[in-house]
């Protein structure tokens, strides 16, 4: 039972990540691999404020979302100069910069050793220390993020995002300042990733830079490409499939390091297979 609860918690956290990346990549057409960096910003901000600042967990998480939004504004402004392949490369550059800050700013982030001793929160007398209540917290936030993402893409704003994805110059000539739209969705998406990061810190109780690398960004990308680009439910479906594949590779009893490497191979193979067989994903509405 506790195994399933843990699995469901990690699924919920990953699903939030996939939904958030889908808003940027699936709906707006901006393929970013910087996402793990914002996931990390959320996790680190939550953990550090909690441990060193004595700040309430939820307040710390909000601070993480806010910080991710500010960093997204800065990075997004630079990235708005890039298109297509350059955009992807730029995003990888920013991911490496932020990850290396986590690794090397020892006095604050604990360097490669990371941050330990993260405690789970309580709210209005309800403690989330046990696994089951914490799972419920994760699921509640997943539903919230799902609803928010659904709402955003149903507004005229969401329609403009899709038009930007299809032909940015053409929609611009109809009077839209596309840069503003891209920046706002980038900030929202990165904020959601930071929320997932805060939850992850609380779930795992110990974080280090190795969880916020390009492999993690590729994992998120694989989730939305398998499940379906530009479809919020597709992001969740893809996450479910990938989480099950990971668990399967663990269950067949492979040594941990082999399993870890095998997983990366699986992400890679999945991405390639999907590109050949069904580039819009299982229930997606957009082909890259």
């Amino acid at each position: 039972m506790s195994y399933l609860i843990n699995l469901a918690s990690i699924f919920a956290i990953y699903a939030i990540l996939a939904i958030s990346m889908n808003s940027i990549t699936g709906y707006t057409g901006l393929v970013t691999l910087a996402h793990a960096a914002f996931y990390g910003i959320g996790a680190y901000t939550t953990a550090l404020l909690l441990i060193h600042g004595g700040v309430n967990f939820f307040v710390a998480m909000l601070a993480g979302i806010f910080l991710a939004g500010v960093v997204a504004l800065l990075i997004g402004s630079v990235m708005s100069k890039f298109r297509g392949d350059y955009y992807i490369l730029g995003s990888i550059g920013f991911l490496y910069i932020i990850n290396s800050i986590m690794k090397n700013w020892d006095s604050v982030t604990g360097g490669p050793l990371g941050v330990a001793g993260i405690t789970r929160p309580a709210l209005f007398g309800v403690s989330f220390a046990e696994n089951l209540p914490f799972l419920l917290l994760c699921l509640t936030l997943l539903i919230l993020v799902y609803w928010l993402a659904k709402w955003i893409v149903s507004t005229p704003f969401g329609r403009v995002l899709k038009a930007i994805r299809e032909d940015e110059e053409a929609i611009a000539v109809f009077g839209y300042r596309t840069k503003h739209f891209k920046l706002l969705i980038f900030m929202i998406g990165c904020g959601m990733a930071a929320l997932a990061g805060g939850l992850f810190a609380g779930y795992i109780r110990y974080i280090d830079p190795s969880t916020f690398t390009i492999v993690d960004s590729v994992f998120m990308l694989a989730c939305i490409i398998v499940g379906g680009l530009a479809n919020v439910r597709g992001a969740i479906l893809g996450t479910a499939i990938l989480v099950m594949i990971i668990e399967f590779s663990r269950l067949i009893g492979l040594p941990a390091d082999v399993a870890a490497q095998l997983r990366e191979v699986i992400y890679g193979v999945l991405l390639i297979v999907m590109m050949f067989w069904r580039p819009q994903g299982l229930i997606g509405e957009y082909k890259l």
Binding site: R159, A163, R165, E166, G175, Y286
Partner: protein, 243 residues
């Protein structure tokens, strides 16, 4: 409605003088035909007028306002809208959304809270019925035929309450029934007092629709005037046939 005056306009691409010292006036309530051989700078002129290509030098005067630089998102503030010689739709969204997307609020935050959905849908229906695509509204734009795609682009410009319509070879590749539909749309815009620019290689269409013709050659103005007189001018005939 005010005229659009083009004064000594220049646009270079590297060594290529795509628009080379062009001056003329586009008058409201008239269809101005722009003709000229391939590569004479017609599309480049459209791009410059819609802010999609920067002005190298020269000015545009709209409603008495002098413009020396124009960003593409500012074009509609000056009442300018356009179509593309190579159709540019939002391919992977529906036909209806292709129209709705140009009807809604331009501001980022306003577009998140826009509450005028019903009104926009009524307008979108009018437009799609006019171009005969209402039945196809739930299809993706890329599923349309070539002619339907060109019409959808026209529909997108009709959704804008523009003063100046720039049509870059809108008739190319259209079936006869569509040619008729589009001709009526242009005549309608003229009757409403809009500035209508029609870039076109088919002289029959130019003769029947244009009130005024501008002939471009190598980015320069070769001739302008009433269709009958301009089209019989020796240098115009040579520019078209002599190469």
């Amino acid at each position: 409605m005010s005229a659009l005056e083009i004064k000594n306009l220049h646009k270079n691409f590297g060594g290529v003088r795509a628009v080379d010292g062009l001056s003329f006036v586009l008058t409201p309530g008239k269809i101005t035909g722009i003709i000229g051989p391939n590569g004479s700078g017609k599309s480049t002129l459209t791009n410059v007028l819609s802010g999609m290509a920067a002005i190298d030098s020269g000015v545009l005067i709209i409603g008495g306002e002098q413009i020396t630089g124009l960003k593409s998102y500012e074009a509609i503030e000056f009442g300018i809208t356009r179509t593309f010689q190579e159709v540019r739709l939002f391919e992977q969204i529906t036909v209806l959304d292709n129209i709705l997307v140009v009807l809604t609020e331009r501001g980022v935050f306003k577009s998140l809270r826009s509450a005028r959905g019903k009104m926009h849908e009524v307008r979108a229906q009018e437009i799609l019925e006019r171009i005969g695509l209402w039945d196809k509204r739930h299809q993706l734009a890329r599923q349309l035929s070539y002619g339907q795609r060109k019409l959808l682009e026209i529909g997108r410009t009709l959704a804008i309450e523009a003063d100046i319509y720039l049509f870059d070879e809108p008739f190319a590749g259209l079936a006869a029934s569509m040619v008729k539909m589009l001709s009526e749309i242009l005549i309608d815009l003229r009757a409403k007092g809009k500035v209508v620019v029609l870039i076109e290689h088919n002289m029959e269409l130019i003769r029947s629709l244009a009130d005024h013709i501008v002939v471009m050659d190598n980015g320069q103005l070769l001739a302008e005037g009433a269709p009958a007189s301009v089209l019989s001018q020796h240098n115009v005939i040579q520019a078209y046939l002599g190469k």
